[in-house]
Amino acid sequence: MSIAPAVESTSVQTTSRTSNASSTTNKVLGYPLNAWYVAAWDYEVTRKPMSRRIADRPLALYRAEDGRAVALADACWHRLAPLSLGKTLAGDQIQCPYHGIIYNSAGRCVSMPAQETINPSATVPSFPVVERYRYVWVWLGDATKADPELIPDMWQMTDPAWAGDGLTIPVNCNFQLVLDNLMDLTHEEFVHGSSIGQEELSESDFVVTHEGNTVTVTRWMLDIDAPPFWRKNIRDKFPGYEGKVDRWQIIHFESPSTICIDVGVAKAGTGAPDGDRSQGVNGYVMNTISPETVKTSHYFWAFMRNYRLESQLITTQLRDGVSRVFKEDEDMLEAQQAAIDANPDYEFYNLNIDAGGMWVRRLIERQLAAEGRLVPFA
């Protein structure tokens, strides 16, 4: 946020708030540390160590012999050589590639090859890890608060009544910009015109609610033509269906960076808005964004569906289709971050359609303030 207000209304907005309300005009946000972030897909973490930076902390990720995932700081205690270039040994151990110090999964040195004893201070930080919903989650903040119950709910990822797959997008932008993108889907009309976009998106009304650490944005578009992506999906279940549809998007945010979007279309007028989705197709876009640095993010997503579970073809088609759509978002987000960086003296303005994203920002800023880490970034 720039120091000098560009125009008066901006300064009015920031100064007229009461002292316990947080500003919502930061362009990009820092990341809370007392939170679970996805470090990797389950299949990525193997006996061969890998490196990934989460919340500015380089991690060495690997599996112990018993299959347990381990996250250590990716810097040896001795001379900071990356442990991810080392190798795993018996049990839960990993050996530094440089002078051969061996650590266990708690990050404790268990062998110091060049001497007869072990320096009792020789440890590397070991971070709490939980494997859930096909992801390896890590906690980089205060370990005494790392309660697995705080992992965001992404049950569709592993529920037998749902099928699907996803990918990771490395995106060169602040994680909050991705959250903004997902909380306001009116951009679909302009960014995703050839797949899921349609003008009814901007025309239809939406409802925002928030509770605890969650925000929900609900939008229904009734009796419309299905856009290409959804025409294909409904025909996968109802071959040859030609008619109008009722379309929904129910965006569920869970702080600090998980958004699960209940999406679908049903044959128009068959009762979907009242809860009968039997004449439709339902998907869940599962998104969880892990800040890599303040300006780069790992965007993990999957598209899950609850129909035609047996079809690997549909799984692959949906993954590829959504992947093409998200490439359009990625391009826009990177261009947006670049423009933010190139115009440090310009402010953000907010529209009514930003309500969902603004609630997200408020929840994250509250969490940052509680951690004493609410600092504006340029």
């Binding site: 266990n104 990050g107 001497q115 004893t117 009792p120 201070s121 930080p125 205060d142 005494t144």
Partner: protein, 341 residues
């Protein structure tokens, strides 16, 4: 446990001092740049020697016994040995309102969250490194036992408070009440997945280490903090000579050999200054007396061989001075002749 160990120096103001035992003072500090102190962390303090006219300062490490308000209120406890003339005397002289230079909390003794069970073992003033760990484990409803050993109830800091807080989780062993700690049976009774965190006199830590090895428990699960300030003999004055450099000096009971050699103008290498890294190693050419190895760098074999010592912590004692009897100067000082890199 993601604490860094970058030393950030700052001013701190003394806001409370209390005598908790005859020789232990509790000092509460308000640092200018507060930072959360995780259990096991310590601060380094610059203490001005009261005897010094040149404003000479010593660096001393004190465990953070308690940290409140994200480190805005830090409690340390300082033990003053009856024989001491150095840093602990200056610390005991601190008054409310005094300021001193301290680091932000540093971490060499991190508590791992999530072990199946814990044994915390404190001997004497070692409780200062252990108390905060016990509090966190209690809050987390972890499976832990706090064993606290000391000479007498009166000499054991915080015993009542700890008993109140930890109830049956606390087991006290008090020598003059005849409930001495039996290390061998304590270790023998441990479940193999126990993590043991200890801080105390070298005798206690050494016997735990031996029992641990005997029982073939995982060495990585034996965690200890040593500030290198306790030995097999009571500290006494001794002489040290480096013939090649023409240096000859005396090491007083409250200074280390490393400090004495630095004072005498030797260009010494060091890092940890607490007997862990081995960088201050010097070669022994001749010895009058016994080496009091206080480091954890050498193995038993290397210590027995007595060819090299870590001069930041290890000392020389008169033969036969075991257990604290300090020989008078009339009998001649123990001494060591060394070569340095």
């Amino acid at each position: 446990m993601a604490a860094t160990n970058i030393e950030v120096w700052q001013q701190a103001t003394v806001i409370e001092t209390t005598a908790v035992t005859e020789h232990i003072k509790r000092i509460v500090l308000r640092p200018d740049l507060p930072r959360r102190a995780d259990p096991g962390s310590h601060i380094d303090v610059k203490v001005n020697l009261p005897s010094s006219t040149q404003g000479e300062a010593l660096k001393r490490s004190y465990s953070v016994v308690e940290s409140a308000n994200d480190g805005a209120r830090l409690t340390v406890s300082v033990f003053r040995a009856p024989s001491s003339r150095g840093g602990s005397v200056a610390m005991h002289a601190l008054q409310v309102g005094d300021t001193l230079e301290v680091t932000q909390p540093l971490q060499n003794f991190p508590l791992r969250i999530g072990a199946p069970r814990y044994l915390l073992l404190a001997g004497g003033i070692g409780i200062t490194a252990i108390a905060a760990m016990a509090r966190v484990l209690r809050e987390l409803h972890a499976d832990y036992t706090l064993v606290y050993a000391g000479r007498s109830r009166a000499a054991m800091a915080y015993l009542d408070d700890l008993q109140q807080l930890h109830g049956r989780q606390l087991v006290a062993h008090i020598n003059d009440e005849g409930t001495n700690l039996d290390v061998a049976s304590l270790v023998a009774a441990l479940a193999p997945d126990t993590e043991l965190y200890m801080c105390g006199p070298i005798r206690l830590m050494d016997s735990v280490r031996r029992s641990w090895l005997e029982k073939q428990l995982d060495p990585a699960n034996l965690r200890f903090e040593t500030f290198g300030n306790s030995g097999w003999y009571a500290p006494q004055e001794f002489t040290v000579r480096i013939p090649r450099l023409g240096i000859s000096t005396t090491v007083s009971p409250d200074r280390s050999m490393l400090e004495a050699l630095e004072d005498a103008g030797a260009d010494m290498m060091f890092d940890c200054r607490k007997g862990e890294c081995g960088l201050c190693e010097v070669r022994v050419l001749r010895l009058e007396g016994a080496i009091d190895h206080r480091d954890v760098f050498y193995s038993d074999r290397q210590q027995k061989a007595g060819e090299k010592i870590c001069c930041c912590v290890s000392r020389v004692a008169s033969v036969g001075a075991v257990g604290g009897a300090v020989q008078g100067p009339e009998q001649g000082l123990p001494g060591i002749v060394i070569e340095v890199p």
